[in-house]
């Protein structure tokens, strides 16, 4: 004797489930909660991006003089104003404390790690004559130092903002950073209150980045000028102020202003 099972239609099931308190249809679970963000201090950027996401990797890239560092200093100023600790891993030792102080950064709350041209450390053993042959010498390039330092800082936790400044590193070298490193960084900051920001000339973290900001400037006037006043008048500066293109990972360019 055969048995006939009658299954309710999907629509009927959905109607039945939504009637139960606390049950959310799976179709609505795709809406992920908004990440907590940090305002950059530049209203135009905040208006579009909502700020730099905590627990995510943000890339700020662009050519020299496009405003990457200015944006970074504004962000640092915001974070230190909130009494949060920041770490700046400076691969090229290019950070200018005077600019930062003028931008309102509380330098006391910024741990500055200045990578060296070549860092050698030896040891593991004493320089005992018999053991000299076992002394290990390791050499790290600036990028390697920056990656290692950032890794340590992210593992330590407690920093509100960790910045890896690869702004003067040629893109060809920055692209050699394995994708696994970016994945590891992303995993390290996930579900934490730390925002990881990478400043570089070309985006290289690919899908690991939660937010990608591209900075670029418009043409600058090349009008002749006199020695008595600044070559860059207010109007010209307005024209040369950075333009920022905002991109969310995987969704293409979102807007430009």
């Amino acid at each position: 004797m055969s048995t006939l099972h009658v299954f309710p239609s999907p629509a009927a099931s959905r109607r039945a489930l939504t009637g139960i308190e606390g049950v959310v249809p799976a179709s609505r679970l795709g809406a992920r909660p908004q990440p907590r963000t940090i305002p950059t201090g530049i209203p135009q950027v905040d208006e579009i991006t909502g700020g730099v996401p905590r627990g995510g990797l943000t890339e700020i890239f662009g050519q020299a003089s496009s405003g990457r560092t200015s944006l970074l200093l504004a962000l640092l100023a915001q974070m230190t104003a909130r009494e949060e600790l920041c770490a700046l891993v400076d691969a090229s030792d290019a950070f200018d404390p005077h600019s930062a102080a003028a931008a309102g950064v509380d330098l006391e709350r910024v741990l500055w790690v200045r990578c060296e041209k070549v860092s050698r450390f030896k040891c593991h053993v004493s320089r005992h004559p018999r053991e000299t042959r076992n002394v290990k010498r390791e050499t790290f390039s600036r990028v390697e130092q920056a990656l290692r330092a950032a890794d340590l800082l992210l593992q330590a936790g407690g920093f509100g903002l960790v910045v890896m400044d690869l702004g003067d590193i040629p893109p060809a070298i920055a692209r050699r950073v394995p994708l696994a490193s970016w994945f590891r960084f992303r995993r390290a900051v996930e579900n934490t209150a730390t925002a990881l920001v990478v400043v570089e000339q070309a985006a290289s973290a690919k899908s690991c980045a939660s937010l990608v900001l591209k900075t670029q400037h418009s043409a600058i006037s090349s009008q002749p000028h006199s020695n008595q006043q600044s070559a860059f008048s207010s109007q010209q500066k307005r024209e040369s102020s950075p333009h920022i293109r905002v991109c969310c990972a995987g969704c293409g360019w979102k807007s430009r202003f």
Partner: protein, 567 residues
């Protein structure tokens, strides 16, 4: 009125215990301690197992080596550390501690019942705490100090003598525990007096006639009837542990084991006194015969950070290092890691024959941070992270920048990264821009004194500060000048026509100073000799677009440099 109660802590075979304390692997083994200088090296102390194995006092080292025992050289420093640990153990329970002998201390426990429990529990706790400090001790509680001392010396483990029962409980002990003069002990032996009960039963007058007042004192001790006030000692708060190595240690890994043991003992002692430390001092005595001739790096200050102020090499081949911590801590594993990282960065350079580790005692960090304050790294983890970072880049390259109060370009110094505790300022949901320019200034941003002076001001909102990215050191450049203005710049990777120029800004200073040697953590490029230069801001057009640079010309040499790029 409180009933007088005293607890005595006695460490049997103290010389052996002092050795075993720093070498826990010797526990349970037959150990003999040797004393003297070669060739007259003799057994000075041994434990019970060694005595059972056949070792006797006064044996030479050669004779003792024939027996299955561990032989160690006597170390006064280790004995001093063990004695200090014994006092720390007692001080953890009572402030009134009498430093009786090297192996015995007595503490007044009257009135501590409500705080620490009844005498049996307190005695058990004392024995346990002594064991934690590496000392297996006998503990006895009695109404008077001497009865407690004799009970501790005579009975193993924990002994409780109720008030008034001293003579009864001490009666079975041999007269040797009184530590009388040998001739008196010999006399008592001839009389057939073997234990304290027999001594206590002798007539007083007869004892005085034959042994004098000393005999009467011994009889009172045997009866447990000597009433004397406790003489509390106040030893200085010194926490130091020493280990003399039988064989010189050349590798860092075995040295880490030694440091780990010393740190555990040190932390246990500090913990017993409810203290922590913010400074560790490591002193290594090196094997003089194998010290390298090359000069050692005399680092004067990785100052900022926790660490290292000096690396001194004295005639005694001492190497001293200091580890300074931002906060009082008491974590032996953290200390060990810091010491390992430090020694890895600055190896001793020769095998180590003696290790001394001292800690500066301070009160532990009270309380905790606010619940609603921003999260900050845990102090211990931050310290460890900084130490690890110092293994990647040099120590002088880590810290917080401090802008110096001068007009000298790029004048700053690196200081220790120790941010102040957050005050819990109520940050707005969107914090206001902290620094903006109302009008474009004659220079893109203020610096030096100007930067300091403008701190805290917030002009009307227009444009954010344009930052400078510095080239350190500045790039030497060839600059073509026409009509007093740079028109073309050529340097390594930077070359092009000047599309726009602004300047010059002339600055000079420090001409009143001679050539000064920069301090280690002050930016060397921006300190020392006088400077005089003309600065220009230029826009270079290249295939990458327009890039803004700051260039300058040294007035004394006429040499041009590219200082950085605006970004």
């Amino acid at each position: 009125m409180l009933t007088a109660m005293n607890a005595a802590i006695y460490v049997p075979d103290f010389l052996v215990a002092a050795v075993v304390r720093v070498e826990p692997s010797l526990q349970g083994k037959a150990v003999a301690v040797l004393e003297g200088k070669p060739p007259v090296v003799m057994v000075a102390a041994m434990n019970e197992a060694a005595a059972e194995a056949g070792i006797e006092m006064g044996m030479t080292k050669l004779q003792a080596a024939a027996y299955p025992v561990e032989l160690r050289q006597r170390s006064p420093a280790q004995e001093a550390s063990a004695h200090a640990a014994l006092i720390d153990c007692a001080q953890a329970f009572s402030p009134r501690v009498e430093d009786t002998t090297a192996d015995t201390v007595v503490l007044d426990i009257a009135g501590l019942e409500r705080l620490l429990g009844p005498p049996p529990k307190l005695a058990q706790d004392l024995a346990r705490r002594a064991s934690e400090l590496g000392l297996e001790a006998n503990v006895a509680v009695a109404a008077n100090p001497d009865a407690a001392i004799h009970a501790a010396r005579g009975f193993a483990g924990v002994t409780i003598i109720p008030p008034g029962k001293q003579a009864e409980r001490l009666g079975s002990l041999p007269v040797d525990v009184l530590q009388a003069a040998p001739e008196i002990l010999e006399t008592l032996d001839r009389w057939g007096v073997r234990n304290l009960r027999a001594l206590a039963a002798l007539p007083e007058v007869a004892i005085v006639e034959r042994l004098g007042q000393e005999g009467l004192r011994l009889q009172k001790l045997a009866r447990g009837a000597v009433e004397r006030p406790l003489v509390p000692a106040e030893p200085p708060l010194e926490f130091e542990e020493t280990l003399e190595l039988e064989h010189a240690v050349a590798l860092l890994e075995p040295l880490a084991f030694v440091l780990g043991r010393l740190l555990e003992q040190l932390c246990a002692r500090l913990g017993a006194r409810a203290l922590a430390t913010n400074e560790l001092r490591l002193r290594l005595v090196l094997d003089a015969t194998q010290i390298e001739d090359s000069p050692r790096d005399r680092v004067i200050g990785r100052s900022g950070h926790r660490v290292i102020d000096s690396l001194a090499r004295s005639p005694d081949d001492l190497m001293t290092r200091f580890i300074r911590l931002p906060l009082p801590m008491l974590d032996s594993r953290l200390f060990l890691k810091l010491l390992q990282l430090e020694l890895r960065a600055h190896p001793p350079g020769a095998p180590v024959v003696k290790v001394t580790l001292a800690a500066e005692p301070v009160k532990p960090r009270p309380g905790q941070g606010g619940l609603f304050l921003p999260a900050t790294p845990a102090p211990d983890r931050l310290e460890l992270t900084l130490a690890r970072l110092a293994g990647i880049v040099s120590e002088q390259k880590i810290g917080a920048a401090e802008v110096l109060d001068t007009h000298r370009p790029d004048a700053f110094q690196m200081k220790r990264f120790s941010p102040s505790v957050p005050q819990g300022l109520k940050a707005p949901e969107v914090a206001p821009p902290s620094r903006w320019l109302s009008v474009w200034p004659s220079r893109p941003h203020a610096r030096g004194r100007d930067a300091l002076a403008t701190a805290g001001q917030r002009p009307a909102l227009h444009f954010p500060i344009m930052a400078l990215r510095r080239f350190r050191p500045p790039l030497a450049a060839t600059v073509e000048v026409r009509n007093g203005e740079p028109v073309r710049i050529i340097t390594g990777e930077i070359r092009g026509e000047v599309a726009s120029v602004s300047g010059p800004w002339r600055s000079s200073g420090d001409w009143w100073r001679g050539e000064e040697k920069p301090l280690p953590r002050i930016n060397a490029d921006s300190h020392g000799s006088s400077w005089a230069r003309d600065e220009w801001d230029v826009a270079l057009s290249s295939n990458k677009g327009v890039v803004l640079y700051r260039i300058y010309c040294k007035l004394d040499s006429g040499q041009w440099f590219v200082e950085g790029s605006y970004d």
